[in-house]
């Protein structure tokens, strides 16, 4: 019904004037005006050069105009766990964070392992405010035993497969997934954790976990899985491996090797892994508990290098909402995960740009062209003429304080409550329509 109405009342054309266009895919970092029409980018031209009129104008003076941000890794919790998040609330948070597209993980109740559920995710009744791309389970029920129907899922619109929340542990199953994925040009996303080594663990294994009396996940439990997967990806023709939330220096070495060998291996890093370390957790605050856990300072340093030098393909939030009663409890029993959609850009600008002097255009790339490439999101990740009219407009200099209580997400489990940060989203435009404005 909604879709029908939208077709009837066409989105008005929108001229974005006076902004600094940063479109890394098109190698543009210059003052440019952008005209959006009929859900597409109609024209990109030097300031004042776009002829003809638009229905509406957006004054972007002092602001950066970028392709719409893409988050490869969010948990919208639907179907099944609507007390944590819904597609409506999660995409509202995404819009407020500047994301025009989010890829939602299948570890829901039930697991999204069928065509029916992939289609369900995109029904208008879900009231998504931004584009939602479904990632399907790689194995039935994410039990790690039998592969799902990759071909049917891909045809139904799934953009990748994963058993996220859990690894695809079995060697034979992982090989089979990469072989089939290679034939279909379908990325297999790995949550790299050798769960045989991490039972009962709630944080990174190191001095801090020893001091706190918490069992720690070793870096090796991540790195060993990545190493195996990289070896497989280098052997299997056309295999596409995407490493989710990579967090350790050792795992990074494997990915670098794969990339040098021109294997089709991509990777993402979360904001919390480039901002916080295991030493930051205080008083058993489970807002610092996530999986993979906050790592050591040297792991963080290695991630910063890889973010700067192009090894990292995407910043992804791993937005993982949980209700208060699932977090405010014994640290070891509390749920893993933190929210992240509304703080990602500001953490990127504050930590990577202002403190580490990584150019703004590289940060924009990590939110746009990079993730679009990982999952082949055609027409997205760039504002070249003819692209989908998904645009993120932000003020790279605006200082602001994040207040979890005011988050659009249903859940408030974040370690960044009360943080002062730089860089604020001003408008989020999906298909030519402004869905968020500040």
């Amino acid at each position: 019904m909604n879709a029908g109405k939208n077709r009837a009342a066409a989105t008005p054309s929108l001229l974005i004037k006076g902004g600094q266009l940063i479109d890394p895919a098109a190698r543009i970092d210059a003052p440019m005006d952008v005209l959006l029409k009929d859900g597409r980018v109609a024209e990109v031209a030097a300031p004042g050069q776009i002829k003809g009129s638009a229905d509406e104008t957006f004054d972007a003076r002092g602001l950066v105009v970028a392709p719409g941000f893409i988050d490869l890794h969010v948990h919208l919790r639907e179907p099944g766990q609507t007390h944590k998040e819904t597609i409506a609330s999660g995409t509202a948070a995404a819009a407020a964070g500047g994301f025009t597209s989010v890829c939602t993980m299948p570890n829901t109740i039930p697991v999204v392992d069928s065509v029916e559920w992939i289609e369900w995710l995109r029904q208008p009744e879900r009231e998504a405010l931004v584009n939602v791309f479904g990632i399907a389970a790689a194995t039935m029920g994410s039990k790690g035993v039998a592969l799902t129907d990759f071909r049917a899922l891909q045809t139904a619109g799934a953009i990748a497969v994963t058993d996220d929340g859990k690894p695809i542990l079995d060697d034979a199953i992982m090989r089979e997934a990469l072989v089939l994925g290679g034939e279909l040009n379908f990325p297999v996303v790995q949550h790299a954790e050798d769960t045989r080594l991490t039972e009962g663990c709630s944080m990174h294994a190191g001095a801090q976990s020893f001091r706190l009396g918490l069992r720690g996940m070793t870096a090796a439990a991540e790195a060993s899985i990545i190493e195996r997967d990289v070896v497989l990806a280098m052997q299997i023709p056309n295999a596409r491996l995407h490493v989710a939330h990579l967090s350790t220096a050792d795992a990074l070495k494997s990915v670098r090797r794969a990339k040098r060998a021109k294997a089709r291996v991509t990777m993402e890093v979360t904001p919390h892994h480039f901002v916080l370390t295991d030493e930051d957790m205080r008083d058993y605050d489970s807002n610092y508990k996530m999986n993979p856990p906050l790592r050591s300072a040297s792991d963080l340093e290695a991630l910063l290098v890889a973010l700067a030098d192009g090894t990292v393909d995407a910043i992804a939030t791993d937005h993982a909402p949980h209700a208060a009663h699932e977090k405010d409890m014994e640290f070891e029993r509390a749920a893993f995960g933190i929210t992240g959609l509304e703080t990602a850009l500001a953490l990127g600008i504050t930590r990577l740009h202002r403190e580490k002097h990584i150019p703004l255009s590289r940060i924009v790339e990590l939110f746009t062209a990079g993730p679009a490439r990982c999952f082949d999101l055609r027409g997205r990740g760039s504002l070249a003429r003819g692209s989908v009219a998904d645009v993120t407009i932000f003020d790279p200099k605006k200082k602001w304080t994040f207040e979890a209580a005011k988050s659009h997400s249903k859940s408030k489990n974040t370690p960044f409550d009360g943080w002062q940060m730089t860089g604020k989203v001003r408008a989020t435009i999906v298909g030519g329509k402004i869905v968020y404005a500040d």
């Binding site: 001095a207 020893f210 706190l212 009396g213 918490l214 008083d283 009663h325 409890m329 014994e330 070891e332």
Partner: protein, 303 residues
């Protein structure tokens, strides 16, 4: 919310001066000469794990000060029905608890409780993390036998990794300049253990660990944990059991301590457990005045 004044969550966060005050106050406590400092107060003992020494000792300490005590154990309470830690905390607060003493299998459980409940929380052992009242009674015991903690050579033998007693002891002894040696196999004494506090070293050999020791602290061997780590019990006994011959490697006047429960024939022989250098039962005795001091401090009665 900050923990209520008088809470005792761990040794790590305590100032050395505060520890000294507590120990001095403990010396003025005597369960045989009750002082009704906590007259009419209610001490809730919330035990999520089994305990003999700690529980009875806190209970006697509280009663010696004139307080009422209520014991709640996981088995036989609403905890069994799935009540959350915080809801149990709110409930015991609502029935009128003035102090909550909590033992819990998860590290940090008392800290979570202290964030939400506005009465003093006393940590009676949280997972692998800390056991502050044990460290205090051990310091109390050491100071009854040795002049000072400064420069004292303390060797802790055994399963440091799984021991909250060891962590609390290390923090306390380090604050007073003791020289601490952790002795055991890598599975039980990981290299990272020496980063816990200043003045800690590690060794794999008893000969090395015991040389010059003034105090030898033994820890219980937890058979099920050794199995998980694939450590051979007989090998452990051969390498690390405290026997009369090994004890001779320490200083002549060295004392032997153990937080209990002891397993004879495993971490120590009966000759050592019952020998003249053992202070194991003295530790238990000293637990009562130490915990009287902890409870009185919790109610602002430490003078």
């Amino acid at each position: 919310m900050n923990p209520a004044r008088g809470s005792l969550l761990g040794i790590e966060g305590l100032e050395a001066s505060e520890i000294l005050k507590l120990l001095k106050f403990a010396r003025s406590m005597n369960p045989d000469k009750p002082r009704r400092l906590l007259k009419g107060k209610r001490v809730l003992l919330l035990f999520y794990e089994s305990s003999t020494r700690t529980r009875s000792s806190f209970e006697i300490a509280a009663k010696s000060l004139g307080a009422h005590t209520v014991l709640i154990q996981a088995v036989g309470s609403s905890i069994e029905k799935g009540e959350s830690l915080l809801d149990t905390g709110y409930t015991v607060r609502a029935v009128g608890a003035d102090i909550i003493v909590i033992r819990h299998p998860n590290a940090g459980a008392p800290h979570v409780m202290a964030r939400h409940i506005d009465v003093p929380i006393i940590n009676a052992g949280d997972g692998l993390h800390e056991h502050p009242s044990q460290a205090l009674l051990d310091a109390f015991t050491i100071l009854r036998n040795k002049k000072t903690l400064k420069g004292l050579q303390v060797t802790i033998v055994g399963d440091i990794f799984h021991s909250r007693v060891a962590r609390s002891a290390c923090h306390l002894l380090s604050k007073f300049g003791a020289k601490i040696t952790l002795c055991g196999p890598p599975e039980l004494v990981p290299d990272i253990a020496i980063t816990l506090a200043p003045g800690i070293r590690g060794t794999r050999h008893m000969e090395d660990g015991l040389r010059g020791a003034d105090v030898v602290m033994l820890l219980r061997v937890q058979k099920e944990r050794l199995a998980g780590l694939r450590i051979d019990l007989s090998e452990y006994v051969a390498r690390y059991q405290m026997n009369t011959a090994r004890l001779k490697m320490a200083k002549k006047d060295a004392i032997v301590m153990h937080p209990g429960p002891i397993i004879r024939g495993l971490e120590l022989t009966s000759e050592v457990a019952d020998g003249p250098q053992a202070r194991i039962l003295e530790e238990v005795r000293n637990g009562v005045p130490t915990r009287m001091a902890i409870l009185a401090r919790a109610m602002g009665k430490m003078r």
